[in-house]
Symmetry: C2
């Protein structure tokens, strides 16, 4: 629980810091998101190396996605992905009905616009993890009602 | 273990980010340290509230310091402080013989100059924790041989 809180607090600070340094230097919202995403990417790369140290080789792409949804997600976000869908053509949708990093935000509609900055790091995390497993992807996130959240992974062939 | 790695990787990214944004904007080393320290301060404030939610009221300053050295340190850094000294006049020295955030750095002397940026956040963490327990302080850190590290806490009356 302690470590969990530590990560959440630090994550919040990072968001604030990135947006604050943006105010000074006139960086627009998109670039802040990119920076957070990039941080997540590198953290994801590091994490997946640790997590897969002792796992068997993955059979295929779907096998990798299942690993992300179960082991990776549980390690980082303390629960599994609730639903994984795919069109079997390189698009995966990972649904988390109670996403840890949105859990502290009020579910009011007026806060919905702030959701993207709380998701950028995690999008990067997934992209970085996949990347180090040899899967190039684009990861985006979408919220309709907090704290539920959908991550869309588009595999780049 | 996962959460631990998550915090360490994110901590490294934050340091890099702060120093990188400094390069662009000509911010000197001291200001980077201050920013990291401030982040730590706010994280420490948040953490201590969680950790002390169910603890008994502290008897005195020393009692608080012991809590920081044991419970707080264990939660955040996975081990206790190895040695706590005080001059009984408001100065405390907390020695950690194997500090978690220096553990990944090479112990070579040439890296010693990089140690301060890996300690700033943690100094803030302690200062923030103490601050929310009503103890104003100045916290500095000192390394002679990595990964051992001394934190000096000067209580401000």
């Amino acid at each position: 629980m302690a470590d969990e809180a530590l990560f959440q607090f630090l994550h919040n600070e990072v968001i604030q810091y990135v947006y604050k340094s943006a105010e000074n230097g006139e960086m627009e919202n998109g670039r802040c998101i990119t920076r957070l995403e990039n941080m997540g990417f590198r953290v994801g790369q590091g994490l997946i190396e640790r997590f897969t140290k002792d796992t068997a080789r993955f059979k295929d792409e779907l096998d990798i996605m299942k690993f992300i949804c179960k082991d990776f997600w549980t390690s980082v976000f303390k629960k599994q992905i609730d639903n994984l869908r795919t069109n079997h053509q390189g698009i995966y949708v990972l649904q988390d009905n109670k996403f840890r990093l949105l859990n502290q935000l009020s579910a009011g509609k007026q806060y919905l616009e702030h959701a993207p900055k709380y998701l950028a790091f995690s999008c990067g995390l997934v992209r970085g993890g996949l990347s180090n497993l040899g899967v190039k992807s684009i990861v985006t996130a979408e919220v309709s009602v907090m704290p539920a959240c959908k991550f869309q992974v588009m595999i780049q062939k």
